[in-house]
Amino acid sequence: MPEIAENTTDVQESHGLQPQEAGGRESHGLQQQWASRGSTVGSIVAGAALAVYGISRKSLGGTALAAVGSILAIRGVRRATAPNPVHIERSFTINRPLEEVFSFFRNFENLPKFMQHLKEVHITGDRTSHWVAFAPLGVELEWDAEILEEEQNRFLIWQSLPGALIPNRGSVQFRAASEYHGGTEITAVLDYAPPAGKGGVLFARAFGREPGMQIREDLRHLKQLLEAGEIPTTHGQSHGRRTAFVRMMKAVAESTKHKGEATESGNEQPWAVGS
């Protein structure tokens, strides 16, 4: 069983997960990105300068300039820095037989049934598959993956192929639980290495503000789906008037929401998983 990196900062190097820029150009580190993306540096410098100038004007026009400058600077910073790599390790016991759990997971076309960020997965070959994730504004993230290693009813390791905008890798171990507990123990390790630039922004939009949490909850959904037959939800349930603040937050969430989450405008639960 190949070693899986514990240290999130090693993830990118040790498993060949190199963040890549949109368009498929390979990057060789953050410095080169800075050099080759002059507009990013320009945004930050010019934006900051404009913001300072605008504030110093102490007028309405100055405020407007400051706002524009700030936005430019922030966008520049966001483009320049990659979101943190995501590393999830989680164990669950699923009260279903080992063979059933393994074969359900092994058929990657089942993954969208419990992984909220995935729209669909197509098996394209013996070991290859094509994945499509949701992102807002109609943009879709797609990549190909291949199974690196597997042993039936024991473990499964897959990785996105080179060219993936957001390199990712997953590894799941399966064990029969004791007779008392029944079912299957699974340990899943999932890694995502979002790049700087557009890919990173799309990653953040697809996975939400806390991507690690979203992915962890997806694993919980697997247990719920296999045991209870459905994923519990309160999305769309009845409730009284929400506060103006909550309604505003919901409106913001709606605008960044992707198609993977069932929403009912006016009935969104801000506490529910995935929002």
């Binding site: 209870a228 037959g229 519990p232 309160t234 009845s238 529910a272 998983v273």
Partner: protein, 395 residues
């Protein structure tokens, strides 16, 4: 439909809200015929339970008629008259299969919230904050009931709703509390709190073979109800030293089992009551635990302290030394409803008990916000409020 919604501390309002819909294939929709206010709803009312959201529909004791079923519902059909348990259980996880229904793994969509506090999440509840799943509750005209084949029990025709409504929470809760005492013939059980759960705990302790049951409270109507059930009563407002009184009543030993049917909003005159109250006011502690401490102090060596009363946080000054030194068993937890509903329904049908003896107020939905106030203050000899969501408001 109309529903009672939480809007803040001491602010319940009746609102017009959308009718519930089937959201998952194992859901059903129930047209509610009777509902009730629970003592634990008062913790929501008084603002003690975190993660409440303005507009949340409250209420978890309800029953009614099935009006719609999801595509995967096999046992219930439209028209069935059912009582709905307040816990939501999937029926297929390890815990449900072992009969530990209230520990269900799979019904709380907000399980991650609970994991930070408790390690793992237990079953979701109706109408009891987002920590417990955020499900809309049953102080309303309709409710969406998830996992409809697992929880609700069918009620035969001809039985009055008021006789079976309390199978939704308080009767099984009092019964589990008594059962957890492991009562042997000849034993003495003391019950702190003669509210609805305490009343059922008293009756259940008798059903389970206790020779004597002692009810402790300060409200005359509650003590009277306990006496009518055959309990001996102690009014702690008129007792100099409750622990000594209990010892005197039990040959110096203390009760063999002690039931805390009060929970986190305990009242009293002891030093720790005042300390806990002070801590609550500055948010250093969520709860007042003076009853729990008393129960531990009073309990006979090797006895059991059984806790149906709701606790949610971490109390200070827990007398673990006393509990350890006397070799006590402390048990508690949310009720494993599905274990008890059918057997207790049979007891009602046999005439062993008529649970409606508790009801002091029967109101319409519009009266409910005012009734929360009445209930919390124990005004008007209030013991239990039952709601007819389709009745007109009293003139």
């Amino acid at each position: 439909m109309k529903a009672v919604c939480w809007f803040g501390k001491r602010d319940m309002r009746v609102e017009h809200v959308p009718d519930p819909r089937i959201l998952n294939p194992r859901d059903c929709i129930v047209r509610i015929t009777r509902s009730a206010i629970c003592g634990s709803d008062l913790h929501l009312y008084n603002g003690y339970i975190p993660t409440m959201e303005q507009g949340d529909i409250v209420g978890h004791e309800f029953m009614g008629e099935v009006v719609e079923v999801g595509s995967e519902v096999k046992k219930l059909t439209v028209g069935d008259h059912v009582v709905v348990p307040f816990t939501i259980c999937c029926g297929r996880c390890f815990f449900c299969k072992q009969g530990m229904w209230s520990a269900c793994d799979n019904t709380n969509p907000n399980a991650w919230m609970v994991e930070a506090q408790y390690g793992t999440s237990a079953a979701a509840l109706f109408g009891y904050s987002h920590l417990y799943g955020g499900y809309a509750g049953g102080q309303a005209q309709y409710a969406r009931v998830p996992f409809a084949d697992v929880g609700p029990i069918k009620v035969p025709q001809g039985i009055d709703d008021e006789k079976v409504l309390f199978l939704s929470d308080i009767f099984p809760t009092g019964y589990q509390a008594a059962e957890q005492c492991d009562i042997k013939r000849g034993q003495v059980v003391a019950v702190w709190g003669c509210g609805p759960v305490g009343q059922f705990a008293i009756r259940s302790a008798q059903m389970l073979g206790a020779e004597r049951v002692i009810g402790i409270d300060r409200f005359p109507e509650r003590l009277q109800l306990a006496e009518k059930s055959g309990a001996e009563v102690v009014n702690y407002d008129q007792t100099e030293d409750l622990i000594e009184t209990l010892k005197a009543m039990t040959g110096g030993r203390g009760p063999d089992a002690c039931i805390d049917a009060v929970g986190l909003e305990a009242h009293g005159h002891s030093v720790d009551y005042y300390l806990d109250s002070a801590k609550q006011k500055v948010h250093l502690q969520l709860e007042r635990a003076n009853v729990l401490r008393q129960a531990i102090h009073a309990c006979r060596k090797g006895g059991t302290v059984s806790v149906p009363g709701v606790y949610a946080g971490s109390i200070d000054n827990f007398p673990f030394g006393a509990a350890f030194g006397k070799g006590l068993t402390i048990r508690g937890g949310q009720t494993h409803m599905i274990r008890y509903m059918q057997p207790l329904l049979e007891r009602v049908q046999n005439g062993d008990i008529d649970p409606s003896f508790l009801i002091t107020h029967r109101v319409a939905l519009e009266d409910v916000p005012e009734m929360y106030k009445t209930f919390v203050n124990k005004d008007d000899h209030c013991v239990k409020v039952v709601i007819d969501p389709w009745a007109q408001k009293a003139a």
